[in-house]
C-alpha cells in the first residue's frame, strides 16, 4: 500500500524523534564514557587523562558491586511479582459486578498519582516508624512487638512501598485486557464443567499473556532506575543499595566522577541486556 512518496514522508516524520533521542542518548553517553577513563575528582581538582581501565577495575572489584546488582534484580523482581499477581487479582475483582465500581476504581488507582518522594516519606515516617508509625500501633493493639520495618525487613519494605505505587498501573492495564475477554467463551467452559481454576488457567491467563508482558516491560523500565524511594527510606543501608544508588554514592557522596561514570556505563549495558531480553519476548508477543 505504501508508495515511495509516503515511505520517504514517513522517514521524515520519524526523524525528529529519532535524532532527538539519539542525541539525548549519545551525547551524555559519550561524555560519560570519556569521564570513565579519567581521574575526575572535582574536590581534588583532578581532571586527568587517562587512567585506562582503572575506574572499571575498581568499580567491578569493589566489595559492594555484586551485592548491588543482586539487590537491583531482587527489587525489580519483587515489585514485578507483587504488582502482576496483585494486579490480576484486583482486575478480576473489579471486573465483577459490584456496587460503586467507579468509586472503588478511583480508590485503587489513587497511589499512582502520588509523587515517589511523598510516598516514601509518608510510608517511612507515618506507617513504618517503629515508635510513632501506624503499623506500630496496630501491632501493639494486638499485643505484638512492633517491627522496625526499615532495618529488620529493609528490602521488603521498599518493595512494598514501590509496589503500592505501581499496583494501580498494572491493575488498569490488566483490567482493560480482562474486560475484552469474551464472556460467552467463559460461560461455555463453565457449562462444560470446567472449574474456576481451570477456567483461570486455560482461558483467562492466556488471554492476559500479552497484557502481562506489557506490564512487565513498562514497569521494568521504570523500576531499574528507582532512586527516590531508596534515598528517602534507608539511604542504601541494610543491603538496599541498588546499582543506581551505588553510582549515586560514587558520583555525589565520594565525588569520584570517573569511578561513578564507569559504573554508569555498566548500568547502561545491564539495562540494555535486560531490554533486549525483554523485547525479544515482548516483540514476539506483540507480533501475534
Amino acid at each position: 500500500m505504501a508508495t515511495q512518496h509516503s515511505r520517504s514522508a514517513a522517514r521524515l516524520m520519524m526523524t525528529p524523534a529519532v535524532i532527538l533521542l539519539l542525541g539525548w542518548m549519545l551525547v551524555p553517553l559519550v561524555m560519560t564514557l570519556y569521564f570513565s577513563f579519567l581521574d575526575y575528582r572535582p574536590l581534588r581538582g583532578a581532571f586527568d587523562c587517562c587512567v585506562g581501565f582503572d575506574n572499571y577495575v575498581r568499580f567491578f572489584t569493589s566489595s559492594s558491586f555484586w551485592p548491588s546488582v543482586l539487590t537491583t534484580l531482587q527489587m525489580v523482581g519483587g515489585v514485578l511479582a507483587i504488582t502482576v499477581i496483585g494486579g490480576i487479582f484486583l482486575a478480576m475483582l473489579l471486573d465483577q459486578p459490584i456496587w460503586g465500581q467507579g468509586v472503588v476504581r478511583i480508590l485503587v488507582i489513587a497511589p499512582f498519582f502520588v509523587m515517589p518522594t511523598v510516598s516514601a516519606l509518608v510510608w517511612k515516617n507515618m506507617f513504618m516508624n517503629p515508635v510513632n508509625g501506624l503499623f506500630a500501633y496496630l501491632w501493639k493493639f494486638f499485643g505484638l512487638t512492633p517491627i522496625d520495618w526499615l532495618s529488620e525487613l529493609p528490602l521488603f519494605s521498599i518493595i512494598f512501598i514501590v509496589s503500592w505505587q505501581w499496583l494501580p498501573f498494572a491493575t488498569l492495564i490488566l483490567l482493560t485486557a480482562i474486560q475484552s475477554l469474551d464472556g460467552e467463551q467463559l460461560e461455555a467452559a463453565e457449562m462444560d464443567g470446567a472449574g474456576v481454576v481451570n477456567r483461570f488457567v486455560y482461558i483467562v491467563l492466556p488471554h492476559l499473556a500479552r497484557a502481562i508482558t506489557v506490564v512487565i516491560l513498562i514497569q521494568t523500565i521504570f523500576l531499574l532506575s528507582i532512586f527516590a524511594e531508596v534515598f528517602v527510606t534507608t539511604g542504601g543501608s541494610f543491603g538496599t543499595r541498588t546499582l543506581t544508588y551505588l553510582i549515586y554514592q560514587r558520583v555525589i557522596e565520594s565525588q569520584n566522577i570517573g569511578l561513578g561514570s564507569a559504573g554508569g556505563i555498566f548500568a547502561v549495558i545491564l539495562a540494555n541486556i535486560i531490554a533486549i531480553f525483554l523485547m525479544k519476548i515482548v516483540g514476539r508477543n506483540l507480533d501475534r
Binding site: 516508624n129 510513632n132 512487638t145 522496625d148 543501608s237
Partner: protein, 434 residues
C-alpha cells in the same frame, strides 16, 4: 495548529519568567533547620535595611549537600550564598572556590567569633565562611527519670556511668528508653557521633601514615559498647534514627538521655514543642578517662561561592545574618533561648543569656572540643567527628552503613569492622594516600 500555538505561549512564558530575575536579588541555599527557618522569617528586616531581596532555597540536609556540591564543582553559579559546614569550608576554601571574608566591616567585629569556630572555618588564617550557629555535643537528660533511678548526673560523667544510668532508666513496657543515640547511616549522622565517641575510647580513623584503623582493639571496644548499650537501653528502630528522629523521641518523653548537638537544647526546653521542657538537665559528653571527650565541633556557616555577580550584596547579607544585631533581633522576637548559639563570644557574656539553663554547658562543650588534636594517639587529619579530606564524606557514609547494619543486628561487630576496614583501605588507595 492549536498545540503549536500553545507551545509558542509556553516558550513565551518561559522567556518572561527567566528574564524576570532582578539584579538585586540574592539566592541563598540553606538547610531546613529551625534556626534557618527563623532567619527566613526575619528576612524582611534585611530587605528593609538594604533594599536587597532574598530568594531562599530551603532543602533537607542531604539534598542541600548534593545541590551545593554539584554547583560548586561545576561552577554552576546558581547561588550567591551557600550554607555549608565545617567539613566543606576548609576544602572548598583551599580550592579557591569561596570568596575570602577578609574585609568585613569593623562593626561586624570578626574577633568576637569564638576562636574554635573561626579556626574551623578558615584556611591559613583567612576566614571563608561566617558561622551562623555553632555547636558541640553534650548529654541532655531527664532529671525526673534520673532521680527515679536513684542516680545523680555529674557535670562530666564517664561512659560507664552513662551506660549504667541508661540501663537503670529503661522501662520498655512504658516506652521509656534510657538512651537515644544516632544510628542512621551517614557521615554527618551516626558517624559524627561514633567518630567523636571513638576518640573518647582512644580510637582513631587513620594512623600517621593514613592507614585505616578499624582493625584496632579501640574501635572494637567502641562499637561493641555502643551496640550493646543500644540493644539494652535504646529505642526500637535506632538504626534509622538520626538527629531529627531522636529529637522527636526526646520531646515526647521517650528518652532518658540523649547525646547530641548542643543546639538541640533550645528545642527540648521549649514548652511549645517539648512535653518534658521543665525536666531537662545537661552534662558534658562522656569520656573513658583517657583524656578525650566524645564531643564534636560543628558550625553551619554562610559562604559566598567565587564567581557570583553579587559579591558585595552577599557580604552585606552575611554581615547581617551573623551579626550581634541579628542575635538581638531574634531575642526580641522569639526570646533569648532561641537565638542562634555557639558563634560569638559576646553572646555568652551577655547577662540576658546567662540565665538560659544550657548556655554555660554549651560554651564549655564548644571550648573543650579540639579539632587540631582530636584523638589520644596522633593523627594526620584535622576534625573531631570527621577528617577534613575530600574523600571522607563518601567513605564515612559507607562505613556508617556497615555500623548501622551492625546496630540493626544484621551483622556482627567484627564483620562490620572488617568491612569498614576494607572500604576505607579501598578508598584511601584510590585517592592515592596508600
Amino acid at each position: 495548529m492549536l498545540s503549536s500555538k500553545m507551545l509558542g505561549l509556553t516558550t513565551a512564558i518561559a522567556l518572561v519568567a527567566t528574564s524576570g530575575a532582578l539584579a538585586e536579588t540574592l539566592t541563598i541555599a540553606t538547610v531546613n533547620n529551625g534556626d534557618m527557618i527563623r532567619m527566613q522569617g526575619l528576612t524582611d528586616d534585611f530587605t528593609s535595611k538594604t533594599g536587597i531581596d532574598v530568594e531562599w532555597v530551603t532543602l533537607e540536609e542531604n539534598v542541600l549537600r548534593q545541590r551545593v556540591t554539584t554547583d560548586i564543582t561545576t561552577k554552576g553559579g546558581q547561588f550567591d550564598i551557600m550554607t555549608i559546614g565545617m567539613y566543606e569550608t576548609p576544602i572548598w576554601g583551599a580550592n579557591d572556590w569561596l570568596v575570602p571574608l577578609d574585609d568585613l566591616s569593623a562593626d561586624y567585629d570578626v574577633d568576637d567569633i569564638l576562636p574554635a569556630m573561626r579556626g574551623g572555618l578558615s584556611v591559613e588564617g583567612t576566614l571563608y565562611a561566617a558561622p551562623f550557629y555553632g555547636e558541640s555535643s553534650m548529654i541532655m537528660y531527664r532529671t525526673d527519670l534520673m532521680e527515679a533511678a536513684g542516680m545523680e548526673m555529674p557535670d562530666a560523667p564517664t561512659w560507664d556511668f552513662v551506660a549504667e544510668a541508661a540501663r537503670a532508666m529503661t522501662d520498655k513496657d512504658n516506652e521509656i528508653y534510657g538512651i537515644c543515640l544516632r544510628g542512621k547511616a551517614g557521615w554527618g549522622e551516626n558517624m559524627a557521633f561514633l567518630t567523636a565517641t571513638s576518640n573518647a575510647f582512644g580510637a582513631r580513623w587513620f594512623d600517621e601514615n593514613w592507614n585505616p584503623q578499624f582493625d584496632s582493639p579501640q574501635w572494637k571496644e567502641t562499637l561493641e559498647f555502643y551496640v550493646n548499650l543500644m540493644n539494652d537501653a535504646g529505642p526500637p528502630g535506632a538504626a534509622n534514627n538520626g538527629f531529627n528522629e531522636n529529637l522527636a523521641l526526646f520531646q515526647q518523653g521517650k528518652c532518658g538521655m540523649w547525646i547530641d548537638a548542643t543546639v538541640a537544647a533550645s528545642f527540648v526546653t521549649n514548652p511549645d514543642d517539648s512535653t518534658v521542657a521543665d525536666s531537662v538537665g545537661f552534662a558534658l559528653a562522656p569520656d573513658t578517662g583517657l583524656g578525650k571527650r566524645g564531643n564534636w565541633l560543628w558550625a553551619w556557616a554562610l559562604a559566598i561561592p567565587a564567581g557570583t555577580q553579587q559579591e558585595s550584596e552577599a557580604k552585606q547579607f552575611i554581615e547581617w545574618a551573623t551579626s550581634k544585631d541579628y542575635i538581638e533581633l531574634v531575642a526580641e522576637n522569639e526570646g533569648w533561648a532561641n537565638v542562634p548559639p555557639g558563634a560569638r563570644t559576646s553572646l555568652y557574656e551577655n547577662p540576658n543569656y546567662k540565665d538560659i539553663p544550657f548556655a554555660q554547658m554549651t560554651l564549655q562543650s564548644i571550648l573543650s572540643a579540639d579539632p587540631t588534636n582530636p584523638t589520644v594517639d596522633p593523627v594526620p587529619y584535622v576534625g573531631v567527628q570527621f577528617a577534613a579530606i575530600p574523600e571522607f564524606a563518601g567513605m564515612a557514609t559507607q562505613v556508617g552503613q556497615e555500623f548501622s547494619a551492625a546496630l540493626a543486628g544484621q551483622q556482627s561487630v567484627d564483620e562490620a569492622l572488617a568491612k569498614a576496614q576494607a572500604i576505607a583501605t579501598e578508598e584511601m588507595e584510590a585517592a592515592g594516600y596508600l
